[in-house]
C-alpha cells in the first residue's frame, strides 16, 4: 500500500520497501515490455543491439579481408565491395560505436550518480526505437543490394545523384540522420541528468570521474552532430529536389560537404574515446586498489580535448588544396591534441604505479588498450605533419591508424568494461577458462591484421580498392593481414561463447566482486528497476565510498525517498554545482508513446526514401501530434508545495520550480539547434567566398517589405509568449495571448512561405537561391514548431496542468519563440544582404 501525501512516511522493512518500489517501477511482461522506459532496460537493449550491429559490421570487414587476401581475387565484384566497405565503416561507427557508448551511459550513469533514472525516460525509449529502426533500414538495404556505396563519409560529388543515381546514398543520408537525431536527444538527456539529477551532496568535485567524462562527451555530441545532420539534409535536398549546395556548376562546392562532415567526423572519434576513457578511469583505480591520481588534471584535460577536437577537422582534408597557412594551424592543432590525451594516460599510469595492480581479465584488456591506443596515437601525430600526410593520405597507413585508435580506444576498453560490469548486469561472474585465450587471440589477431597495414600503406596501397596487381609487392602483407583478421574473429567468437556461458552457468556474484568504490555496486545485482531503494547522501568523492556498508542502509530506506507515494516514480533534483537537493522529480511511467512516435518517424523516413513526399509530410504531422500527446501525460493537476522526501527534508515537485529538467533540456537542445543554424550560416558564407561560378548570372531580389513583416511578426509572437507567461504568473488565464501569438506566428509562416516562392535566383538555378531557400525553410520550420508549443500550451492549460506556480510550459514556449525570432532575423537578414554580398564579390581582383 502506498503512503498518501498527507501521511508521514512510515519506516517499513527492506523487503516491504522493495515490494512497493518494484510495483511502482515495474514494466509489465510480454508485449508490455515494448512500453518500457526504464534506463536499465533501455540501456541493456542499446548494448545488445549495438553488439548485433558489431557482429554484422565485423563480418563485413572479414568479407573485405577475404577479397583482399589475394591479388585479383574474384570473391566480390567492385560494386559489392564498395557496399561492403561502406557499410562496414558506417555500421561500426553509426550503429555500433555511438549507440554502444550511449547504451553504457544510459545503463551506468544514473547508477553511478546515485539517482533512480534519467531525466526523460520516454525520450530514452524513443531514442532506442529510432536507433533500432534506422539500423534495420540500413541492414535491409544491405541485404537488398542497395546499401550505401560511396564510403562511410559519402563525399560529394560522388554521392550526388549524377554519379550515384540509385537510392544507395539516400539510404545513408536518411538512415544515418534518423540514428543521429536519436543520439542527439540522448545527449541532451545525459547533460541534464548529470547536472541536475545526482545524489544529494554529490557536488561537482565529488562526482565520479565517469560523470565528468559523460558530461563533456554529451556536450560534444550536442555541438558535433548538427553539422552532419545539416549536411545530410542539404545533400538529400540536392538529390531529391535539385538544389545545388554541392554542385560547382551552379555555385555549389563539393568541399562544403567535406567541411560539414569532418566538423562532425573528427570530434566523433573523441566522442567515442572519452566515455571509454571514463570507463578506464573507473576501472584502473579499482584494480590498482588506490584512488585515481590526477582527478583535477583529468577534468582540465578532457575540457581541453573536447575543444581542441573541434578545431582540427581539416587534417582529414590536407590534400584538397587549401593554403599553407591554414594547413599549418590545423597541423599544429592536430599535434597538440595529443597532450590532453597524454595527461590522461600518465594519470592512469601514475595510478597503477601508486597502487598494487591486480591482474585479471579486465586488466588484460586495459593492457591491450594501452599498447594499441599509444601506437594509434603516435601514428596520428605522424599524420598531423602535413608533408607526411600528403604521402600517406588515402593509403592503408591511414586505415591502420584509425583502426588502432578506434580499436584501442573503443574495442579493448569496451571488452574490459564488459567483464568488469557483467556481474552487475547478470548477477553472475565469469568462468574465465575462455576469457584469457579469447583476449590473446583478439590481441594477436588485431595487431597482425592492422600493424601490417602500416607497411602496405607506406608501400603505396590505396584505400577503397577492391583488388590489386600481384606485382605491387603487397601480396604477403595482405595475406597475413587477412589471416590476422580470422584469428581476431575467433577471439571475438570465444568472447561471445564466454559471455553466454557466464550468463547461463556462471557463479552467483557477491554484491561488490571487485571491491570497487562507486555507487553502482551499492544496489542489488542484477539491479532492480528502481536502482536504489533510497537515495544516498554523499559526503565524500563518489569513487571513494564503501558500497558494502552503504547498500544495506539504502535497502532499509535510510536514505532519501525511502518510501513510495501516489504510485509516483520519484527521484531528486539537485543544485548544479553543490549537489544540494532542491526539487522532487516525478518521472513518467511506462507508455507505448515512444514506440508509436518512433514508428511514425520511421515511416516518414521511408516515405522520403521512396520519394513519397506527401506521405512523408503527413507522417511528420503525425509525429508532431504524437509529441504534443506526450505532453498530455506529464506534470500535475494541482500545486503541491513542499513534500517530504526523507531525512527531515521537504522539497517542491519539479513542476513548481524554476530550474526544472525540461527547462535545462530545451536550453541545451537550442545549443544543438543553434549549432545547426551556425553551420548553415557558415555554409552560406563559405559558398559566397569560395565556391566557383559566383556571382550568379541573375541579381538576387527579395521582397523587402514582406521580409520586414516576417521578422516583425516573429518578434511580436515572442512578445506574445512573454505576455502569456506574465498573465499566468499573475493568476489570470492566458488563452487569449496564446491564441493571438498563434495567429501572429501563422502570419509569419505565410509571409516567409511567399518569400520562398519568389526567391531569385531560383533555388535550382544557383546555390545562392538554394541557400536562401534553406534559410527561409529554417524559419518556417521553427515557427511551425512554435505553433506546436502553443497548441500544447492550450491543451495543457485546459486540462489543468498550469497554475501561477506551474509555469514550465509557458517558459519553454517563450524560450523557443525568442530563439525563433532571433534566428529568423539573422536568416532573413542574411538573405536581404545577399545583393550586397554579391556586389562585394565584384571587387575581387
Amino acid at each position: 500500500m502506498n503512503t498518501s501525501i498527507e501521511d508521514s512516511p512510515n519506516r517499513i522493512t527492506a523487503i516491504g520497501l522493495h515490494r512497493q518500489l518494484a510495483q511502482v517501477w515495474a514494466t509489465g511482461p510480454g508485449l508490455q515490455r515494448l512500453a518500457a522506459v526504464n534506463h536499465t532496460i533501455i540501456g541493456t537493449r542499446f548494448m545488445a543491439t549495438a553488439f548485433v550491429f558489431f557482429a554484422i559490421g565485423g563480418v563485413l570487414g572479414m568479407l573485405a579481408r577475404v577479397q583482399l587476401a589475394t591479388p585479383q581475387a574474384t570473391f566480390m565484384d567492385t560494386e559489392t565491395y564498395n557496399q561492403v566497405f561502406t557499410m562496414h565503416g558506417s555500421m561500426l561507427l553509426f550503429l555500433f560505436a555511438i549507440p554502444m557508448i550511449e547504451g553504457i551511459a544510459v545503463y551506468l550513469t544514473p547508477k553511478m550518480l546515485g539517482t533512480r533514472d534519467f531525466a526523460f525516460p520516454r525520450l530514452t525509449a524513443y531514442g532506442y526505437w529510432c536507433y533500432l529502426l534506422g539500423g534495420i533500414i540500413l541492414t535491409v538495404a544491405l541485404v537488398a543490394g542497395v546499401a550505401p556505396n560511396g564510403g562511410w563519409f559519402m563525399y560529394t560529388p560522388l554521392s550526388s545523384n549524377v554519379y550515384t543515381p540509385g537510392i544507395n546514398a539516400d539510404v545513408w543520408l536518411l538512415g544515418v540522420t534518423f540514428v543521429e537525431i536519436s543520439a542527439l536527444t540522448l545527449a541532451v538527456e545525459i547533460i541534464v541528468s548529470v547536472l541536475k539529477m545526482r545524489a544529494p551532496g554529490m557536488s561537482l568535485d565529488r562526482m565520479p570521474i565517469f560523470g565528468w567524462y559523460m558530461l563533456v562527451t554529451a556536450l560534444m555530441m550536442v555541438v558535433a552532430f548538427p553539422p552532419l545532420i545539416l549536411g545530410s539534409i542539404l545533400l538529400e535536398t540536392e538529390r531529391a529536389f535539385g538544389l545545388p549546395f554541392f554542385d560547382p556548376t551552379r555555385g555549389g562546392d563539393a568541399l562544403l560537404w567535406q567541411h560539414l562532415f569532418w566538423i562532425f567526423g573528427h570530434p566523433d572519434v573523441y566522442i567515442i574515446f572519452l566515455p571509454m576513457a571514463g570507463v578506464l578511469s573507473t576501472m584502473i583505480p579499482v584494480f590498482a586498489s588506490t584512488p585515481l591520481v590526477g582527478y583535477r588534471a583529468i577534468v582540465v584535460a578532457i575540457i581541453g580535448l573536447a575543444f581542441v577536437s573541434f578545431g582540427i577537422w581539416v587534417h582529414h582534408m590536407f590534400t584538397v588544396g587549401i593554403p599553407h597557412l591554414a594547413l599549418a594551424f590545423f597541423s599544429a592543432g592536430s599535434a597538440i591534441v595529443a597532450v590532453p590525451t597524454a595527461v590522461q594516460l600518465f594519470a592512469w599510469l601514475a595510478t597503477l604505479a601508486h597502487g598494487q595492480p591486480r591482474w585479471n581479465v579486465p586488466m588484460l584488456y586495459i593492457f591491450g588498450f594501452l599498447s594499441t591506443f599509444v601506437i594509434g596515437g603516435l601514428t596520428g601525430v605522424m599524420l598531423a605533419i602535413v608533408p607526411f600526410d600528403w604521402q600517406a593520405h588515402d593509403t592503408y597507413f591511414v586505415v591502420a591508424h584509425f583502426h588502432y585508435v578506434v580499436g584501442g580506444a573503443l574495442a579493448f576498453p569496451l571488452l574490459g568494461a564488459l567483464y568488469y560490469w557483467l556481474p552487475l548486469l547478470t548477477g553472475r561472474t565469469a568462468i574465465y577458462r575462455l576469457s584469457i585465450p579469447a583476449f590473446w587471440l583478439i590481441f594477436v589477431g588485431f595487431n597482425l591484421t592492422f600493424f601490417l597495414m602500416h607497411l602496405v600503406g607506406l608501400l603505396g596501397m590505396p584505400r577503397r580498392v577492391y583488388t590489386y596487381q600481384p606485382v605491387e609487392g603487397w601480396v604477403w602483407l595482405n595475406l597475413l593481414s587477412s589471416v590476422g583478421g580470422f584469428i581476431m574473429t575467433i577471439g571475438f567468437a570465444l568472447v561471445v561463447i564466454d559471455l553466454i556461458a557466464q550468463i547461463l552457468y556462471g557463479r552467483r556474484a557477491r554484491r561488490d566482486p571487485w571491491k570497487a568504490a562507486t555507487l553502482e555496486w551499492a544496489m542489488p545485482i542484477p539491479p532492480t528497476a528502481y536502482a536504489f531503494a533510497s537515495l544516498p547522501s554523499i559526503d565524500t568523492r563518489a569513487d571513494r565510498i564503501a558500497p558494502g556498508e552503504l547498500a544495506p542502509s539504502l535497502a532499509r530506506g535510510e536514505g532519501y525517498l525511502g518510501f513510495t507515494r501516489n504510485n509516483w516514480q520519484e527521484t531528486l533534483g539537485v543544485h548544479v554545482t553543490s549537489g544540494e537537493p532542491e526539487q522532487l522529480i516525478v518521472l513518467p511511467r511506462v507508455t507505448y508513446l515512444p514506440l508509436w512516435t518512433a514508428l511514425s518517424t520511421g515511416v516518414a523516413v521511408l516515405a522520403m526514401l521512396f520519394k513519397s513526399y506527401i506521405l512523408a509530410l503527413l507522417m511528420a504531422l503525425v509525429v508532431a501530434g504524437l509529441f504534443v500527446r506526450w505532453g498530455q501525460n506529464a506534470g500535475h493537476f494541482r500545486d503541491y508545495g513542499s513534500l517530504p522526501v526523507g531525512r527531515g527534508l521537504s522539497l517542491p515537485p519539479h513542476t513548481e520550480v524554476v530550474s526544472a529538467p525540461p527547462w535545462w533540456a530545451l536550453n541545451f537542445a537550442l545549443v544543438a539547434d543553434g549549432t545547426l543554424f551556425t553551420s548553415l550560416v557558415f555554409g552560406v558564407l563559405y559558398l559566397w567566398i569560395s565556391a566557383p561560378n559566383w556571382p550568379p548570372a541573375v541579381t538576387p531580389i527579395t521582397n523587402l517589405p514582406l521580409a520586414f513583416v516576417s521578422v516583425a511578426a516573429l518578434f511580436v509572437a515572442s512578445a506574445g509568449a512573454r505576455a502569456s507567461l506574465r498573465t499566468q504568473a499573475g493568476g489570470r488565464t492566458p488563452q487569449a495571448w496564446i491564441g493571438l501569438t498563434a495567429l501572429v506566428l501563422l502570419a509569419a509562416i505565410g509571409a516567409v512561405a511567399v518569400l520562398v516562392a519568389n526567391i531569385i535566383p531560383h533555388p535550382r538555378e544557383h546555390a545562392l537561391g538554394a541557400t536562401a531557400a534553406a534559410l527561409f525553410g529554417y524559419v518556417v520550420l521553427h515557427a511551425g514548431i512554435g505553433l506546436l508549443f502553443l497548441l500544447s500550451n492550450f491543451m495543457r492549460l485546459s486540462a489543468g496542468f498550469m497554475s501561477p506556480r506551474r509555469l514550465v510550459d509557458l517558459r519553454l514556449t517563450r524560450l523557443w519563440l525568442d530563439y525563433t525570432a532571433i534566428t529568423g532575423a539573422i536568416a532573413i537578414g542574411l538573405v536581404l544582404a545577399s545583393p550586397a554580398l554579391v556586389g562585394i564579390l565584384g571587387m575581387r581582383p
Binding site: 561537482l204 568535485d205 599553407h324 597557412l325 599549418a328 553543490s578
Partner: protein, 112 residues
Amino acid sequence: MSVRPVPAHRLWLLVLGFGAWCSALVTVYVLHSLGCTFAWSAHTIRLNLGLAILVHLGLIGWIGQSYAKPPADAALGPTGSFLHWVIVWTLLAAVATIVFTLGPTLLLTSCT
C-alpha cells in the same frame, strides 16, 4: 564560516578559455580567407591575423585577471576551490594552445 553553493553561472568560466581559442581559430581562418579572396597584401594579412590573436590572448588575460587570479573564495568551500583550480588551468592551457597553434602560422607565406 558556512559554505555557499557555487553559482551555476560560474561554470561558464570552465569554457571561456578554450572558447576564446575556438573564436581565435575561426577569426584567423575567416580573416585569412577574406584576405586571400580580396588580394590583401601579405603584410596586411599578417597584421590582421596577429591582431586577432593578440585580442584573444588579451581576452583570456582579462578573464584570468578578473576571475582566476584572485584566490578561491573560501565561502564557496571545496567545490569552489576545485572549480577555481580547473578554471585557472584551462585558461593557461588555452593560452598555450593559441600560441602553439596560431603563432607560428604568422611566419608562413600567406595565400599559396
